[in-house]
Amino acid sequence: MTAYLLKRLIIALATLVLASMVVFAVLEIIPGDPARLMLGLNASADQVEVLRNQMGLNAPLAIRYLHWAGGLLSLDFGRSYTYSVPVIDLVRERIVVSLPLALIALALSTIIAIPVGLYSASRRGRAGDAIAMGATQFGVAVPNFWFALMLIYLFAVWLRLVPAGGFPGWSAGVWPALKSLLLPAVALALPQAAILARVARSALIEVLNEDYIRTARAKGLPYRAVLWRHALRNAMIPVLTILGLQFAFLLAGTIIIENVFYLPGLGRLVFQAITQRDLIVVESVVMLLVAAVIAVNLIVDLSYAVVDPRLRSRQ
């Protein structure tokens, strides 16, 4: 187990370093001079050169990389070119929206998907399965912003239960803040749940054909108990894999939903930074997301070992 853990940890760290190099390199290659951008089109070449020196843009590539990477480690991401505030402040402001949103959506998606998968797998080929799978097909096919609009219409405009958009901030109280995250979370969760339910169903069906399911039934356990005690845990590996991927998506890929609901999340921050060539913000947020994805993958890898004892003893 320790060896497994150690190996995963080393792989995760190596990936992180490699990814940081790629992120840094890619942003170096793409055209657009941040110094010129900050000074505007009318600035003279001398002025631009002075600013480039000030910003350290003229130093050798390796030095700039080390400087940047060292800054990341001490959470010093530098200053935003456009907002002229530390990037960390911008990120901090946004992550308190994006992270809870992703977590709520993930929880919702799991809570919906697992029972649907269990239900469908246990009544494979029957009417209930067909209906549930039809619904997930719909969920996979329909884009989440459409769900978002429907939800706004139903719950905000018509029933007036929740606000249609915007985020009051956590300072306004936990409940108002949560309330404004609820609809976006549902809109994000539905398509994810549909995918997850299908994965859970097929993994469960495979497991239900295993010999040990028959052994469990021969013990006298009712079908439902066999499903929960024996089938579900064995079907968790593919489900966990998809969950990991979904979390990464939910954290970074929520830009459309953030726009629909006017949420000040990370997705919008990156989007704005890209249009304004605010490279330092882009770099920082991308690195943050990379780190989050790698951390989630590490957690998924470790949870494999929790689920399956065979992974613990094999190395």
């Binding site: 320790t2 010999d211 040990y212 028959r214 052994t215 006298g220 009712p222 004892p309 190395q315």
Partner: protein, 540 residues
């Protein structure tokens, strides 16, 4: 009164009839043997009693267990019976246990469910049961996971699950088919003891007539879902009144005719193995200690003459398959040399091995798993032809495939079929056709008949014998089944813990084994003649 009474049981899955009017009964303390070839409906009969049939199956007739009408029983009633009054043991111990739960949890689960006892109480009973089936606490704590146990040990856990609550009836569906003969004998002994201890009824399902004869008081012979013959085991098998019974008995003792016997020492040896050893990296126990290597094959030497048929016998895990892989140059030896037709093949590159590959081919155990299901027979059988120096033209290739198919008793029209269109026996013929298409001098056959029914097995053994006589192919048969070794080989090598511990003429070694390992194998091997004789003697 009977414990289990099956009367006029018919079963259909969809429109396909599986069982037709099956009659069978088991009394308390009695062992009933249910024998038949694959597809005869043995397992379906067992699953009917458990009511664990596939969704689309419909059963009619009458099944009574202990006064309860099984076919009319509700699912709740069945749940109460399963695992409490009726236990079941399955064929494949490697997959019969849940890989993510400890053996303690799995044995205790049924106990807790049926007796509503506390966790501690159930674990206590589970511990006792595991002790009883020969898994003592010191070596097999409840916290062990299935993957940490061998096949035989796992089957003991399955038996512990099935017998934990002292069932009145135990159904064992091919409980030892996946195990080697020594383990088989141990498991059968255990089952016999449990029957005597608890006056348990045992319905023993097997395709192996010898196993059933050793175990069963009465026997029911099933074919195509119908009972062919039923009655006292010794009488049924000694009189062999029913033609199918006779056919089964003869097939299971079949010895193919091989008038010409090749012996070692005639001319130059075809294959020479000298001092071959194979180490595998062992499991690392600590971060700072080097892992000790596992020696799978330990200083083995042997030689095979052209046209000679040699058996390599031993228990599972003794290293026989590893040795075979090195002979086929599919695995590298740690030390030692292997010479084929006088040329060294150890340490050669793939290109240098080409001529040797042409002259040695392999037949595997599982005729289902060894073919790509999406390719046609022509392509599958022609596969080894790529080792020829000159690629044959398409027409020539078809000709060669047709010829190879003819030699194994299949027609040229079979060339355009897919593997799933063939039965198990036919598929094994296909893999033999694939092996002989390059006219090899040596065929290595790894348990080539152990997945086949007895009558098919007899045919395949005949085919091996015929090809040996006609084409002079030498064989290395890897098997744990001594009947096969006796039927088809001139010489036998007994392997144990990576070493060859005994060798000699097949009949001599098997009749008068000298080494402990050979003695154990011979003593454990079920033998139909011996079993019938013993039964008759017991009954006077």
């Amino acid at each position: 009164m009977s414990l289990l009474e099956i009367e006029n049981l018919s079963l259909a899955i969809g429109d396909t009839p599986i069982l037709k009017g099956v009659e069978l009964s088991v009394a308390p303390g009695e062992v009933m043997g249910l024998v038949g070839e694959s597809g005869s409906g043995k397992s379906m009969t067992a699953l009917t009693v458990m009511q664990l049939l596939p969704f689309a199956a419909r059963a009619t007739g009458r099944v009574t267990f202990d006064g309860i009408d099984i076919l009319a029983a509700s699912e709740d009633q069945m749940c109460a019976l399963r695992g409490d009054d009726i236990g079941m043991v399955f064929q494949e111990p490697m997959t019969a246990l849940n890989p993510v739960k400890t053996i303690g949890e799995q044995v205790a689960e049924g106990i807790r469910w049926h007796t509503r006892s506390s966790r501690a109480e159930a674990e206590d009973r589970a511990r006792k049961m595991l002790d009883r089936v020969g898994l003592p606490a010191a070596l097999f704590p409840l916290s062990r996971y299935p993957h940490e146990l061998s096949g035989g040990q796992r089957q003991r856990v399955v038996i512990a699950i099935a017998c934990a609550l002292k069932p009145k009836l135990l159904i064992a569906d091919e409980p030892t088919t996946a195990l080697d003969v020594v383990l088989q004998a141990q498991i059968l002994d255990l089952l016999r003891d449990l029957v005597v201890e608890n006056r348990m009824g045992l319905l023993l399902i097997s395709h192996d007539l010898a196993v059933v004869t050793e175990m069963a008081d009465r026997i029911t012979i099933l074919r195509h879902g119908e009972v062919m013959e039923a009655g006292d085991t010794a009488r049924t098998l000694s009189e062999q009144l029913h033609p199918y019974t006779r056919q089964l008995a003869q097939a299971s003792m079949h010895v193919p005719a091989r008038p010409r016997v090749h012996e070692a020492g005639q001319g130059k040896p075809l294959l020479q193995v000298e001092g071959v050893t194979r180490d595998y990296p062992g499991r690392r126990m600590s971060l700072f200690k080097r892992a000790t290597a596992v020696r799978a094959v330990d200083d083995v030497s042997l030689s095979i003459a052209p046209g000679q048929s040699v058996a390599l016998v031993g228990r599972s895990g003794c290293g026989k398959s590893t040795l075979a892989r090195m002979i086929l140059a599919l695995d590298r030896s740690t030390s030692g040399t292997i010479r084929f037709r006088g040329e060294t093949i150890t340490g050669k590159s793939e290109a240098e091995l080409k001529p040797a590959r042409r002259d040695m081919q392999v037949v595997f155990q599982d005729p289902y798993g060894s073919f790509d299901p999406r390719q046609k027979v022509e392509k599958l059988v022609a596969e080894p032809l790529h080792v020829l120096d000159k690629k044959p033209a398409p027409a020539e290739r078809r000709e060669m495939v047709a010829h190879a198919l003819h030699e194994v008793g299949l027609g040229p029209r079979d060339m355009d079929k897919y593997p799933h269109e063939f039965s198990g026996g036919q598929r094994q013929r296909l893999s033999i056709a694939r092996a002989i298409i390059t006219r090899p001098k040596l065929v290595v056959a790894d348990e080539p008949v152990s997945a086949l029914d007895v009558s098919i097995r007899a045919q395949i053994l005949d085919l091996f014998a015929e090809l040996n006589q006609k084409l002079g192919i030498a064989y290395l048969f890897i098997t744990h089944d001594l009947t096969v070794a006796r039927a088809i080989t001139d010489e036998v090598l007994v392997m144990h813990d990576g070493r060859i511990v005994e060798r000699g003429k097949t009949s001599e070694v098997l009749d008068h084994p000298q080494s402990e390992a050979a003695k154990a194998l011979v003593a454990a091997a079920p033998d139909l003649h011996r079993a019938i004789a013993r039964r008759l003697q017991e009954q006077g």
